[in-house]
């Protein structure tokens, strides 16, 4: 499994006694000089804001009234967030989006990877063609999909109706359809990503395993379940991990495509956060929500990294 460099061991550090009397700065000073600016910037623009958010989440501060008195309100912002039925609706919408989009992407991405691994002629050209959507700006993708979803002249509706669709339907205006519209666009955009990872997984499987299976006359089914799937599993988990984190944070695509609507059926946690923080200016409340989201994402990634290690040790 040398493809997974993240999990592999560091090359051994050899200390060279002959270099200790060098001219110029010592290696230790140089190391700090090289790493220092990066660490300082990250502290200033990530850790400091994070701590500030934590502090704000315990206050009733409002960013549109910076000069008003700010009071310490203890954990009441958190209580309000967790007792707010609207938040649970947002969480449900987020969960629907996460589960549906990632399940679709894994299925489609794995199928495409298995097919591309047959190395038919021109397969590398077509895999590049498939990869294009994932590099685009999600906000702009959201904008032009709005055009495709137009009920009268949208190309998406025209194609669905050409294939025997129901005639008139409004993907972005219907409370039943709109959650699926964001799943569809996200799947269009990110299936290539899963495909790319799983294809790397398939290509990292040592051929001798398949040769052994052929000598044992194992069926294609057995070979898939006993060799292909277990060997690709770390890559599936990595894809799952990256996609979950990205989609939990996802803001730009949905902000442009539906802006949380109609009503709030596609109001994901991140859209809710924007509304509370920058439209209603409930800074303290929004900060509490931000911390809850951050902790969930962080916890999720820690679990996934653990699992990845476990799978790798087998």
């Amino acid at each position: 499994m040398e493809g997974l460099a993240l999990l592999s061991q560091e090359p051994p550090q050899v200390k060279h006694a002959s270099f200790t009397g060098q001219r110029g700065l010592s290696d230790r000073a140089l190391a700090w000089l090289f790493v220092g600016p990066t660490i300082l910037l990250l502290l200033a623009f990530n850790i400091f804001p994070l701590l500030w958010t934590i502090w704000l989440s315990f206050t009733n501060f409002r960013a549109n009234r910076p000069n008003a008195d700010t009071a310490w309100v203890s954990i009441s912002n958190y209580q309000r967030v967790l007792n707010d039925p609207a938040i649970w609706e947002n969480m449900r919408a987020t969960a629907h989006f996460l589960v549906a989009s990632i399940a679709l992407q894994l299925l489609l991405g794995f199928a495409l990877a298995l097919l591309l691994n047959k190395r038919f002629r021109s397969h590398s050209f077509w895999s590049t063609a498939i990869l294009l959507p994932m590099m685009l700006a999600p906000a702009v993708v959201g904008t032009f999909w709005k055009y495709f979803f137009e009920p009268q002249y949208g190309i998406f509706n025209a194609i669905v109706n050409f294939l025997g669709g129901p005639g008139t339907f409004t993907m972005l205006g219907d409370t039943q359809l709109s959650p699926w519209a964001i799943v569809l666009v996200d799947t269009w955009m990110w299936t290539p990503y899963v495909m790319l990872l799983l294809l790397a997984g398939l290509r990292s499987i040592p051929p001798y395993l398949y040769e052994a299976a052929e000598i044992d006359r194992a069926s294609a089914w057995t070979t898939f379940w006993r060799i292909t799937l277990p060997m690709v599993l770390p890559f599936i988990i990595l894809a799952l991990l990256f996609r979950t984190i990205e989609n939990f944070k996802m803001f730009d695509l949905v902000d442009q495509l539906t802006n949380g609507g109609p009503g709030s059926v596609t109001e994901l946690a991140s859209i809710k956060l924007k509304r509370e923080a920058f439209e209603k200016w409930r800074t303290g409340y929004a900060s509490a929500l931000a911390i809850i989201m951050f902790v969930s994402i962080y916890g999720l990634s820690l679990v996934a990294v653990r699992f990845l290690d476990k799978v790798k040790q087998r």
Partner: protein, 315 residues
């Protein structure tokens, strides 16, 4: 070895055909949206909202003209009283019962995107190269924890730190400035830049620098004259990834800029002018905005996997 059906090693001709047809089918369907946006950019506003949608339509540059200009509507009598249009694009404006009012803000927003994209890429790649070299070659205390910390900054939802950053920027006057966004995108890209470049640096044999240092180079000279040229591919790859991120970023740009420093992503949705129906102009803006990214993606295809997994998967 005897050929066995369904072998993953040597697929039969029939399964190759099947795989090819399904994959090409998927690719073609998934490219319809991009093709459609491109085609829409060369249509007239009337054709863009035709029902049912037209596959073949009259070709027109009116989308691009509307993208780059602002116009005002005039009555037929006023239009008739005007002298003939001086330029071809003025003619296209007149055909819409309008007169040219001036340039639009598209070029400003596009240059903002370029300036902020290149500025932040330069900074994050320079800082990332230094840090990656140190992590790759030196004994840095707590190295694994530091590297994990750097990666973890990427997990933070932008909206979660946007509140204090908004307050910070407002306090020091960085709201709606190019420098503010450059600084912010530099920081967001640092995790990617350090992780990717560390992977590339690890692949450069340290014997080269050691030989140079035996020859009397200092560590710094060896880094500049031996390591950097070897890392050129890695640095170029990392730069393109940083550039694409900054080019595509929307959340911070939306919240922290409103006018002079606004980049393209928050601007493009606002193009859809009068009556909310100027789809060709929106499509033209989208086409010009996406083209560089599409070109870079094709150039990068060998390194895409590495870039999108922070160097975790290399092959």
């Amino acid at each position: 070895m005897r050929s066995i059906p369904h072998s993953p090693l040597e697929p039969s001709a029939r399964s190759k055909w099947f795989a090819g047809i399904v994959v090409i089918g998927y690719a073609l369907v998934s490219l319809i949206p991009l093709a459609w946006i491109f085609m829409t950019s060369f249509r007239t506003p009337q054709d863009a909202i035709a029902y049912p949608p037209k596959v073949v339509a009259e070709q027109s540059l009116v989308g691009y003209v509307n993208l780059f200009t602002t116009r005002s509507r005039v009555s037929a009598e006023e239009l008739a009283a005007l002298p003939p249009p001086a330029t071809w694009y003025e003619g296209l404006v007149r055909e819409q019962q309008m007169i040219l009012a001036g340039p639009s803000r598209f070029i400003d927003r596009y240059s903002n995107s370029l300036l902020i994209g290149f500025g932040s890429t330069l900074l994050s790649v320079v800082l990332g190269t230094l840090a990656a070299y140190a992590f790759s070659r030196f004994r840095v205390p707590g190295k694994d924890d530091l590297l994990f910390f750097i990666l973890s900054t990427r997990m933070m939802p932008p909206i979660a730190v946007a509140i204090p950053i908004y307050l910070m920027f407002r306090h020091v006057g960085l709201n709606d400035t190019h420098f503010g966004l450059i600084l912010l995108y530099t920081v967001v890209n640092l995790s990617l830049s350090v992780w990717l470049l560390k992977g590339f640096m690890d692949e450069i044999p340290r014997e080269y620098e050691e030989a140079a240092m035996v020859d009397g180079y200092t560590r710094w000279q060896a880094f500049l004259k031996v390591v950097l040229p070897q890392a050129a591919t890695g640095i170029a790859t990392t730069s393109i990834f940083c550039l694409i991120f900054a080019w595509n970023e929307y959340a911070f740009a939306l919240l922290l800029t409103s006018g002079s420093a606004q980049t393209s992503p928050p601007f493009i949705p606002t193009i859809i002018g009068e009556g909310g129906l100027d789809w060709p102009a929106m499509a033209a803006g989208t086409t010009l905005f996406l083209l560089p990214v599409l070109l870079f993606t094709v150039l990068l295809r060998k390194h895409l996997l590495r870039g999108v997994t922070f160097g975790a998967i290399r092959k």
